[in-house]
Amino acid sequence: MLHRIIPILAAATLATTAQAGEVAPGDVKIVDGAIAASLTGEPGDAERGKAAFVGRKAGNCLACHVVTELLDEQQFHGEIGPPLDGVADIYSAAELRAQIVDSKVANPATIMPAFYRETGLNRVPDAFKGTILSAQQVEDIVAYLGTLKGE
């Protein structure tokens, strides 16, 4: 079912490892549903974030979420997660960061992957060891989500 959403990667790995100056996945602290500080120490880039948000080998967020402003350029948004239109009006960057890093902290039953966690997983092939997104990608997506405000 997921074959169109999450294409299998041939050799290149998406799995990433933390770079110097970044908060490593094991060191991230979610406090009251939020991560206050940037994982990279810098603000993300919304334009790059949009690419990572859409990319099927990156966040692939449209697999589950609708973003109305992207419907013209990307067909078939999924419907199993909440629509993200206006999400920046509801949640702070710190809350959005926590949701992307590990949404299971807030909701253990969620289908949503933890995009910046590399432990507590089963049967992960070597090619996918590590986190789904890099710290930079998380920050870039947080920045993109920050642009999704109501009219």
């Binding site: 079912m1 074959h3 169109r4 948004h77 992960v124």
Partner: protein, 278 residues
């Protein structure tokens, strides 16, 4: 969920019985969903994957001359009669007319069988290889190769239209429990269980994919994505790769247990083998 809940009718069951396997009439729109066998069943309605597919896909399944699974079935009809192996036997040597000898097999496997006093949990594919290696003294067939797919289709197709009826108690109970646990076990980098998609969100879309209940009643199936026919265990393997998990081995104990659990999730659905899916 926007899916019509149509009960299997007595008439449809009678029709399926009357028509038997290979020459069965078109699959009917009014038997795609059945009621669960009891209140403890995980589903409130049991819906064939047939219901989640397009009219074009369904039409291909319903046409015995166009459905690609039937090409393999026709070859298997010949293979059934062919002697192979050192014992000088064919399938027919022991089992004679498959329409009679295989009746009730496709709808009840996987199951625990008695092999010379030893209880063995097996599915159709593994049982075929047991026959080949032990009774025919022939080489085992590889999982998902045409010979194996065709013979599995032949056996299951005898029961086409019959309700899936797997046993989950007695000797089968530990395998069922193992299968249920695997179904709900998150795996892979994406950390998903079968249940996340096929229990919690069936009927909804992930991107352009319409999530079904992941029912097994049509396998082996022709799949457009494969441009060919494949086994249930191949489908399991594909799902696991998609969530970036290391698949279990085809024919191995994990997938066998999962196959039994899926059979129960589809208890009462008509066997559709060979089906056509996306």
């Amino acid at each position: 969920m926007g899916i019509p809940h149509l009960k299997k009718t007595v008439a449809a069951a009678a029709l399926a019985l009357a028509c038997g396997g290979y020459a069965a009439a078109e699959l009917r729109d009014d038997y795609v969903a059945v009621e669960p066998p009891n209140e403890d069943h995980p589903l409130t309605e049991i819906i064939s994957g047939y219901e989640f597919r397009t009219d074009e896909t369904r039409a291909l399944q319903a046409d015995d001359f166009e459905n690609p699974g039937y090409l393999l079935l026709e070859e298997a009809m010949e293979t059934w009669e062919e002697v192979d192996g050192a014992a000088g036997k064919s399938c027919a040597s022991c089992h004679d007319d498959y329409e009679e000898s295989m009746a009730g097999v496709g709808s009840t496997y996987p199951k625990v069988v008695d092999r010379d006093g030893e209880k063995v949990f097996t599915n159709i594919e593994n049982q075929i290889n047991h026959c080949r290696t032990e009774h025919m003294q022939a080489d085992a067939w590889k999982y998902d190769k045409p010979d194996m797919l065709g013979m599995t289709i032949l056996v299951r197709n005898v029961d086409r239209g019959e309700p899936v009826n797997v046993a989950i108690d007695g000797d089968a109970a530990p395998y069922f429990e193992k299968g249920e646990a695997l179904y709900n076990q998150r795996v892979g980098q994406l950390d998903m269980a079968c249940s996340n998609c096929h229990q919690d969100y069936y009927g909804m879309y992930i991107r352009a994919d319409h999530l079904s209940q992941g029912q097994s009643n049509g396998f082996p199936t022709y799949r457009f994505k494969w441009s060919g026919v494949g086994s249930l265990h191949r489908r399991f393997s594909g799902c696991m790769k998609n969530i970036r998990a290391e698949p279990f081995s085809k024919g191995g104990e994990e997938f066998l247990a999962l196959e039994l659990y899926l059979g129960y999730r589809g208890q009462g659905l008509p066997v559709e083998t060979p089906s056509v899916r996306n």
